[in-house]
Symmetry: D2
Subunit: 402 residues, 4 copies
């Protein structure tokens, strides 16, 4: 990440590229409306971007309905000759990969089961390098411009360092530099919940105004917090480790070494661990339970198994308490619950709502809208790819504006 | 168990047999001192017991020191021709067996690893029957008079029914009748913590006066409570399920289906489960961790591993809170912490003592003496065998007194 | 209290007097049926008691219905010439007094508001002596044979010492001896919850068989535990301080100095303290809220005030957790919730039942019957008077049996 | 508050006025260095501000040390003829007032004890109006330009509405408009913890870069959160109600109607309430304890009273847990503990530090520096006055720049 301030002209280019990235192809008049720019300014800016080969035009038939047919609109969008970007997510025992072209179109994706927890720093980077290289080769990825990698833990996004992670055996891992050196490409890294929050905010303009807290529930629990559409950054430019807020002294063991963390109730591994004790179901083959195993638990609970229902009751209460903390601490305009864990939202909801009601001041609770966005791991690679593309756009905005 | 009241003569016979059972061989004069009986009464009682073949005499050399040598003492004890008794303990995945003769001498013992949790009622009884029969045959057990079986759970000791157990898949299991029918012998069943409490109380007269609560920590956590040396019996003649007192709402999952039970922190399975999450050690091969696995955790904690130390810190706090509840509820004269879990008492002690101090009223805490009795699973079979022998003695006291 | 064993004849006299005390006047034939004694034995015993002037006869009309009229029954009961007994209860800021004759008939009672907390040991005894003496004089109490005094705290019933009390400023107070010396009469002291438990058990034979735990809720929370109708005694012959089981680490402050005790949620003072904070109602004039103040809170909650309703919701949950501990620890046949706090049982019940369900093993919960006995402070003095009369009966049984 | 964007020239004026407000009088060269402006720009800007009568010059002797003496520096600062500002803080039962001139110099202050909780909306505004008017008259306040008012609760700083407050009996109170109408002056309102955070950040440049969370402990507990020196604003432009995060389910009652809020352990009223129960000290005369009463508790605890020490132990643990939540949620660079409650920091510290250690991930804890800033209620009025002056400066920057 570069932090130099932009000139006014660079800023204008960036705003235009950001808008196209988010909204998709737009005609010049739409761009003007969208950004509040004069037609002249739009013309001048787009001309330069077309000249630079960054944007291309695409003709569309007239899409207005009704009697009077207008002339065909010319829409502008990113040239797909600008190269491609690979997005990667590393879980505890899984790697997700995604290849997109410069226009943001998905070209290929891959899912790999691979335990990463036991690897040393060098080994881990070697495995990732090889995995990414193979994926690029297999998919015929042309001209990869950058890699975006999302992972659990506290990520120094400026220096590309994983300061701490519950799933990696190492600490203060210079992951971006290590991969960048091995791959010969720029590598951007991000906390995975922040990546998902970013992806979700790109899809819904409401989440880009005011303050939006995205609580991602799945392999773990994370939070991405956006202020006016930009990710909040704490010390060392990291995000949040809200999932490790220790909500219940003397609660269940968490894999971070603490007890009673939010994720020790809500994460897939936690629910599966507790289900194992209840009915002696087999342990996951690869350390963490897969989607099928989790669906098994959910179905059995829905069928009325009282002890399994109780797991979701407890988890829902913790989710409600967690959202209450967010409300009383940050008073966000929007709270989004997302991630694979939303698969059981019907089971979580009763105790979630009861907890939310009992643990917040009604006047404050009323200020925050709670949304549930069903979302698979796909959104993670989508989010980090979007961020990587945006970084590239920043370079385009900056370098070619000179 | 039979509950008919005894006649005064039967009572006297029983007290004599009880004393011999507990104290070992005694001379007539010692018996008289011990029971506060006149020499005439002792003579009369012992004569009848010798006639009946229940007791035998054994000559000892004079054991008095000093110049004047007395005449050799004649001690009385149980004839070993009265047959033998088999004691059994069934854990989650283990069976312990012990053969003793009527004089209470250990003749053989055996340890078997065998998962029992998944068995149906009939299957379970068949497995136990076969295990006991094989053990009796292999050890050449002569004239087995009775079987005593200790198991986890709430045991209706009068009707021989396991009303509920965290380790058996069945409920209201008529275990004594089922085994008795299959084995053709009387079978007595008991909660295992009660059996251990009984064994411990036989070894220490202090624990047979006043009120003694024995907290057994190991595979699970149980409590045997003695008033004046006799086991306290609750509704349906069961003991206590103190280990499933849910001490911490929202605490870790327990195998009883609840959360935050005392044993969900202190039992071997709980400590091992949490250690697995901390450092990804392998799961136990047979559902529950063995002694070696538990020693591994203890050693690693003693070596300073902070997350493992924290497990014992938490467990010690729960133990302290548990003992505080016993003090404030029952105000026992003695509290005994026993069972395999005492292996880590050095690690548990600091937080145990801090919790005990913070959670009790000092004046009340001062009234109860806390003891730690290192004790392996052996004490369980010892306890239940002693109870079975005592039941037999009761028959001897009653039937032959007529 | 005297602890010498009784002879068989003394025992028989005691059983007869106990039965009359409990059941009221009975004919000889009824006594025989009740105690399982032969007519001859009953005749002989009652003759001696009539001779001693302990019992008197009272003629009744024939009460049989139907055609054939029997001859009038002669019932036996205590002579009222045996003197009287005074029962006293000391609360934080109140004294209750009751005078009964030897037949157990209530002759007078009195309620006094008087802060006792700040008094030293001597002062306290002086105040009580004067209060009792004045009461005796005002009521024309003839021939007071004994005083029974019930108070909060851990009471050494053998030596008559208040070992610890949350309401008295002193520790290890030799209250019985101090009062006895000042009053020149025997004084029996008892924990107040034990006294209430005793009174309740006298009224309902179910509570005198098996195990009965009486949870008294009011000024504080206490427990009296009965095994086969006799009060359980812990170390130093005290009862239980179950109300100070610290159920919630970090819970509200209790007047015992700890936090999160059962009574810190359920006692009148706790509910009133919390209500004060909610709606700034005035503090109680005499340290503890009176019945009127408590009724005000209850009425307001019943009318729908959400914050006050929440107080009872929380208190009910604590009550449920408390009863769950009793079930899992002692498995009583009967659990009785009693005392002035039952005034709000309708408000406590929903969360009480939910907690009971979530915090116990269903199979064990099913073994205990839960009863609510509405009971005012009257039962306290009734209970301690009954105990004092029973002690006197013991003397009658013993001394005159010689 | 006005939210119109500033022109570049307005921005430059504002930055210059901000710097003078914060740093005090500066020479032109210092201003240039401070703001990174060219001498020409500084000259031009200051000339216009001097012309407008906003700034004045003040001569100083040469303060350079060494051989070569320079010519006297001319420093620039605010004219004190621009009028004055009154800062007000309203507590539960107290009002603090402060008069400052336009140069930010304190001219007068006043403390008034007055219960506000029971007043209706109109009454409250009348009382405040009269109090402010009297104060202005008594102190001869010349040309009052604005009033800044800090109060507890969630404050909509844009619309001047107290959305919710634990101390006012009303909801959604249009306090700024109501006072403004009555006083005929602009009124700015702010949450009091935010005001204190603002004041503290003006004094220490470290707290104006990165993220700083100020936890104010005193009458209640509040938090002001600054990002790059600007107060974080949640929904409806309010701050945070972090003090009402319900940290402990089933904890002590809070005056917000919930249980287990952070302030229910840490606020003065909470500590005093619990101390009352422990040793029966008298209730505060005016609902909330004053400084003297709180010092009494602190001194007694320091002298070793175990039950009072335990209050601070518990409060310190809650403080540690609270800071842990801030770290794991927001990862601020600085955490400042401030307010009158810091008077007992020595008593809070041991359990505070233990909680901080046990409840956070060490790598994340290391990123945040924790500071304790002893601070009385004075800082509250100072903070809100500074904010009001800054608003006035904004007008000066804007209006006169045209």
């Amino acid at each position: 990440m570069t932090l130099l301030p932009l000139s006014p002209r660079e800023t204008a280019r960036r705003r235009l590229l950001d808008a196209l990235r988010r909204e998709g192809p737009m005609a010049r008049v739409e761009i003007g409306q969208h950004l509040g720019m004069s037609p002249a300014s739009v013309s001048e800016l787009t001309a330069s971007l077309l000249d630079d080969g960054i944007l291309v035009t695409e003709d569309t038939g007239d899409q207005s309905s009704g009697l009077i047919r207008g002339r065909p609109k010319v829409r502008l969008f990113f040239a797909d000759s600008l190269g491609s970007v690979i997005g990667v997510w590393t879980g505890f025992n899984r790697i997700e990969l995604r290849l997109v072209d410069s226009a943001g179109r998905n070209r290929a994706s891959r899912h790999i089961e691979r335990p990463l927890r036991s690897l040393g720093a060098g080994e881990l980077m070697d495995v990732l390098t090889e995995t990414i290289t193979t994926f690029a080769k297999d998919t015929g990825a042309a001209d990869v411009k950058a890699i975006g990698l999302a992972c659990q833990g506290y990520v120094d996004t400026r220096d590309g360092i994983v300061a701490w992670s519950p799933v990696l055996g190492t600490r203060d891992l210079p992951l971006a530099a290590g991969l960048s050196e091995r791959l010969g490409k720029p590598v951007l890294i991000e906390n995975d919940a922040s990546a998902m929050a970013f992806a979700i905010a790109q899809r819904n303009p409401d989440f880009r105004s005011g303050r939006t807290a995205c609580l991602m529930v799945g392999d773990g629990v994370g939070m991405g917090f956006l202020i006016q559409g930009e990710l909040y950054r704490g010390a060392r430019f990291g995000g949040s480790e809200f999932g490790h807020v220790r909500l219940r002294r003397s609660g269940p063991q968490c894999r971070c070494g603490g007890r009673g963390c939010i994720e020790a109730y809500l994460a897939d591994y936690a629910l599966h661990r507790d289900a194992q004790l209840i009915d002696h179901r087999p342990a996951p083959t690869l350390l963490l339970p897969g989607e099928e195993a989790m669906n098994g638990i959910v179905e059995q609970a829905r069928a009325g198994d009282p002890a399994l229902l109780n797991l979701f009751h407890e988890a829902g209460e913790v989710l409600g308490d967690a959202v209450s903390i967010l409300i009383q601490t940050l008073e966000p305009d929007h709270i989004v619950i997302c991630g694979p864990g939303t698969r059981a939202m019907d089971l979580l909801r009763p105790s979630f709502e009861a907890a939310l009601e009992s643990q917040t001041i009604p006047e404050l609770r009323a200020l925050a809208a709670v949304h549930v966005v069903k979302s698979s791991l796909d959104l993670l690679t989508e989010g980090v790819v979007m961020q990587a593309l945006r970084e590239l756009d920043l370079d385009l905005a900056r370098l070619k504006a000179a």
